[in-house]
């Protein structure tokens, strides 16, 4: 590769490589364009920084990895063989420093000794201090491209499709199969990962005529079929679902309509795999040098792209296919120095070629030598004699591996073909068929290694040599799965497409087993790397998680609150005034509730309307407390258990009518509760005459709390509001409302429920009524301080899924008649044994109690529990907390340390009952 090998005519596309302006022809891959510009050195290898060039002409390329594009559009580890040049393409080499030609990593030739197989495992077992030294070195040295720092500016779309026949591969076999299916009236989708249809026809001489490919494509389209170009079938999933990755633009290119790629989910009646074969390299010393190229790739560059990658060429083969490469090179004006055929006897093809070329049998390459950019000579063993050739290109063919990835992802099995020395598709439980050369790979001879194992690479991308496989074997790794993980063989971005068979052959040789007995590793999607943006599709930024807006969102937004996510909802955390910070605002709000009146939005609470003759019976299954004796117009606190007897949610139950109840539970657990209620209804007791409707979003809810709450509400509805734990209907601001006498704050309080679409006037009326009495709105932060002082538990705080009703001090409320979900689980002796965490309160003997801190007997020793929620007494500001403490209820008065070593905070606390405010509930009385 000493310079441009084709005339510059027609090279009209401008691109750059490492900043160097270059020209390409339309239709060139980046690899073809680089070769045409005489560039042999394209990248540095992963571990050893060895110079690497272009080895293949397809998606299997392990060496020529580059970063394409700029800014957030940059795509690292792009195969130069799998990107088609476009005007303004910017490509950069990777893993080199300071420059590609002069790389310090390679100057430390010691790498190959420093990073043998299993290096990472061995290092992790070594002294930790040593790892700190290695880490800097490894992070600097090993690696591929860098992920871009900026956000990807492009869009990625997703689409679902259905077809009778999905054909993967647009070569001669795939095109014929697609036409046959289309002619038979089937809905057909044909996918081709290349930018051109034709497959091997683009590379090999054939007698189908020049228009065959376009004629076949037209027949498919005319019959209503779809052909997707630059589209890779990347995954085969259950029930014949295939995911397709469609490149609408090339990597790094600016999309014309904003969309860079599209992910297809195709459910197919049948899948036909015409995926062809991948040619295998040969193992010999320095087989990774620029200038060593796969035989079919050489043909592709000459015939498809008009690029001659070398002028003096040695060909090494174990099969007949490479003779076609010799002829192609010769026709293009290159000198074929010698054909090294590993087979002991001349095949018919080889005999026929002998007149035109120098053909040697029993001939294998032993080493390649050369400079950074090109090959100088090839050393070989010919009938046990050492021979050397001057050559600038070595074309190798170690046989052909059928692309069986999708067949295997579909759950298929493989047969080993002795003739081809390769695995071919056998049975599959899904509706998939393999055709073409993937089903019938060309014959090839088994190949042994000739040359130094240390530089005979098997996995080029991860720098795994024959010596590494031997070392793994010597260290006792016998299974192919262990070999893979120990050496990292086949674990790079190319997933071992060119390497797995050679490694398997070496392992089988060591095991004295046949290749099929040595075993295979699992084929997993994706077939080729998929960019993360495509998988995310539109589910990024704000669309990553759905935000549910409260019915009163506009009213809150006008007050410019601090928002807080709560479950799927955004709820106001505080309503600061005059530049208050969160803490100041929350304390003012909480004090207003204690001393006057406050209002807050409680719309997001879970709400279920349960009705029917069996409504009470049904509720007594869901709730662990008694419901049946609840009078009409009355309500009660309740909690719910999982089947294992532990508390998973709490709320209130209200009897609206003879056979009609309202059940509320926590915001965060709302969806879980909806599923639980449906489960009990549909699965456990479908015979009940009951309806349980989720009315969470039907109602907006406003809580009005404080010593002036009753007066404010009386004024608004013009009548006496309901007593504590009673309900009433009323009209407020001209809107019908349901009033519940319920309190979470510890003050006399009401929950006002109104149809969600009519919430605004009710909220406005409450604001006005409160303003007249010195009241204010309050957010979640004030609510949290108020409930901690009152000692009310909260789901996901104290109710953490590990506690029984007894642990939470709720055992006295359990329904003695039983029959509720969790009753059996609750009877487990372990739940009654000593040593369990119990809910307690804490008073500080020092400063604020660190939330989430451990409770210890002494500083740093004797863990006893942890702080679940910390606050302060609303009026005095004295720090208090709720906590879970081992056998806590019997430890009142004990002093402990609330320890947070990560924050270096240690505070002495005293254990109290978990009620700091009005424990007798006198403030609820009218």
């Amino acid at each position: 590769m000493t310079g441009p090998s084709r005339s510059p005519d027609g090279a009209t596309i401008n691109f750059t490589f490492d900043g160097r302006p270059l020209k390409a022809r339309a239709g060139d891959t980046l690899a073809a364009a680089l070769l045409a510009n005489g560039i042999g050195l394209v990248g540095r290898s992963f571990k050893y920084h060895r110079p690497r060039g272009i080895m293949t002409a397809g998606i299997e390329e392990p060496n020529a990895l580059v970063t394409v594009g700029e800014g957030g559009r940059a795509e690292p580890n792009t195969r130069a063989t799998d990107v088609f040049v476009y005007e303004g393409l910017v490509a950069r080499s990777q893993n080199r420093w300071p420059s590609l030609s002069f790389d310090l990593g390679a100057v430390f030739g010691l790498f190959s000794k420093a990073l043998p197989a299993g290096f990472y495992y061995k290092t992790f077992f070594g002294p930790a201090k040593l790892w700190l030294v290695y880490e800097w070195f490894i992070r600097r040295a090993a690696g591929l491209g860098n992920a871009p720092q900026e956000a990807d500016p492009d869009r990625y779309s997703q689409r679902a499709a259905f077809c009778d026949v999905l054909v993967v591969g647009g070569g001669p076999a795939g095109l014929q199969a697609a036409v046959d299916a289309a002619d038979a009236g089937k809905r057909v989708i044909l996918v081709e990962q290349d930018a051109e249809l034709g497959g091997s026809l683009l590379r090999d001489p054939h007698d189908l005529g020049p228009d065959w490919t376009s004629t076949m494509a037209a027949r498919i389209r005319d019959a209503g079929g779809t052909i997707l170009m630059r589209t890779t079938a990347s995954g085969y999933w259950e029930h014949d679902l295939v995911t397709l990755v469609q490149r609408i633009t090339e990597p790094g290119q600016v999309p014309t309509d904003g969309t860079a790629q599209r992910l297809w989910h195709v459910r197919a009646g049948k899948v036909i795999l015409a995926t062809g074969c991948i040619e295998r390299p040969i193992a010999f010393a320095h087989n990774d040098r620029p200038g060593v190229m796969l035989s079919q790739a050489v043909r592709t560059y000459v015939r498809r792209f008009g690029v001659l990658p070398g002028k003096r060429v040695v060909i090494a083969t174990n099969n007949d296919d490479a003779y076609l490469t010799a002829q192609t090179l010769s026709d293009a004006g290159a000198e074929v120095v010698a054909i090294l055929d590993a087979r002991s006897a001349l095949s018919a093809t080889a005999s026929e070629a002998q007149g035109r070329f120098t053909v040697h049998t029993n001939a294998v390459p032993k080493a390649a030598t050369g400079g950074m950019h090109q090959l100088k000579s090839v050393k070989a063993t010919v009938s046990a004699q050492d021979v050397s050739y001057d050559a600038d290109l070595l074309a190798v063919s170690g046989g052909f591996t059928p692309v069986t990835h999708l067949h295997m992802q579909a759950g298929g099995t493989l047969d080993f073909s002795d003739e081809a020395q390769a695995f071919v598709a056998a049975e599959c439980r899904q509706n998939v068929e393999t055709i073409g050369s993937a089903a019938n790979p060309p014959a090839a001879l088994p190949l042994a290694l000739h040359g130094d194992p240390k530089t005979s690479f098997v996995d080029f991308q991860n720098d795994v040599s024959i010596a590494d496989i031997d070392l793994a074997w010597a260290e006792g790794y016998r299974s192919v799965e262990h070999l893979k993980r120990y050496t990292t063989l086949g674990m790079a971005t190319d997933q071992g497409k060119t390497s797995n068979m050679a490694a398997l052959a070496r392992l089988a040789e060591r095991q004295h087993a046949s290749i099929p007995d040595a075993g295979l590793t699992t084929f997993r999607p994706p077939y080729t790397p998929v960019t993360m943006g495509l998988l995310a599709g539109r589910n990024h930024r704000d669309a990553g998680a759905h935000v549910r807006r409260l019915a009163l969102w506009n009213q809150h937004q006008a007050a410019k609150p601090i928002w807080q996510p709560a479950g799927y909802w955004m709820r106001p955390r505080a309503f600061p005034r005059n530049g208050e910070d969160l803490a100041t605002s929350a304390r003012r709000e909480a004090q207003t509730v204690r001393s006057a009146v406050g209002m807050t939005d409680v719309s997001s609470l879970a709400k279920f309307e349960v009705s029917g003759p069996d409504a009470a019976k049904f509720l007594e299954m869901i709730c662990a407390t008694s419901v049946a004796k609840l009078a009409i117009g009355r309500g009660r606190y309740t909690f719910m258990l999982r089947e294992d007897g532990l508390v998973f949610d709490d709320g209130t139950v209200w009897r609206l009518d003879e056979n009609r109840y309202l059940l509320t539970s926590s915001t965060g657990g709302a969806d879980r509760m909806a599923t639980h209620i449906s489960y009990v209804r549909q699965v456990l007791h479908p015979e009940l005459r009951v309806s349980a409707v989720n009315v969470q979003e039907h109602y907006a809810g406003i809580a009005v709390a404080g010593p002036l709450a009753k007066a404010a509400l009386s004024a608004m509805i013009g009548t006496e509001p309901p007593r504590h734990m009673s309900l009433a209907s009323a009209t407020l601001a001209g809107v019908p409302v349901l009033l519940l006498g319920a309190s979470y704050s510890g003050e006399r309080a009401f929950e006002i429920y109104v149809e969600a679409t009519h919430g605004a006037p009710v909220w406005a009326a409450c604001e006005t009524a409160l303003a007249e009495r010195g009241g204010c709105t309050y957010g979640l932060e004030a609510m949290e301080i108020l409930r901690i002082e009152k000692g009310h538990v909260v789901v996901s705080g104290e109710v953490d899924g590990r506690l029984s009703p007894h642990d939470l001090g709720l055992a006295g409320m359990l329904n003695k008649a039983g029959g509720y979900v969790g009753e059996a689980g609750l009877s487990r002796p372990a739940l009654a044994a000593p040593g369990r965490l119990q809910l307690v309160g804490l008073e500080s003997l020092g400063g604020p109690i660190p939330e989430g801190s451990m409770l210890t007997l002494e500083k740093g020793v004797g863990a006893q529990g942890h702080v679940t929620a910390a606050a302060y007494r609303v009026m005095s500001g004295d720090p208090i907390a709720l906590a879970l403490l081992t056998d806590g209820r019997s430890r009142t008065g004990e002093e402990l340390i609330a320890s947070s070593p990560t924050r270096n905070q240690y505070v002495r606390v005293r254990v109290t009952a978990p009620h700091f405010y009005d424990p007798a509930g006198e403030r609820y009385r009218d």
């Binding site: 679902l241 294992d644 449906s678 489960y679 549909q682 015979e687 059996a824």
Partner: protein, 87 residues
């Protein structure tokens, strides 16, 4: 992604469904403590066909009993569950 034949909606993509639990982990409300704990914590987990409860959560929201091979994902049968499925 599997194709699950909902008894009410026909064949639909797995993404519309939620796997809930195996049928043998359903605990009757009157089960004794030992039976309940066995159902919850010591199940068979066969490498073969199992009976499972699925829910068409992003479709008709109905529950169903699915007989599915846990290795091949072959679905032998799907039966409706709930009041409508009562004899």
């Amino acid at each position: 992604m599997m194709l699950i034949p909902c008894p009410h909606c026909g064949p639909r993509a797995q993404a519309e469904f939620v796997y809930e639990r195996t049928l043998d982990s359903v605990v009757a409300l009157d089960a004794g403590a030992d039976d309940a704990m066995n159902s919850l914590f010591t199940r068979t987990n066969p490498r073969g066909v199992d009976e499972e409860l699925w829910r068409h959560t992003y479709g008709c929201r109905a529950w169903m009993a699915v007989r599915r091979h846990r290795v091949t994902h072959e679905i032998e049968s799907v039966q409706p569950v709930g009041p409508e499925a009562l004899p």
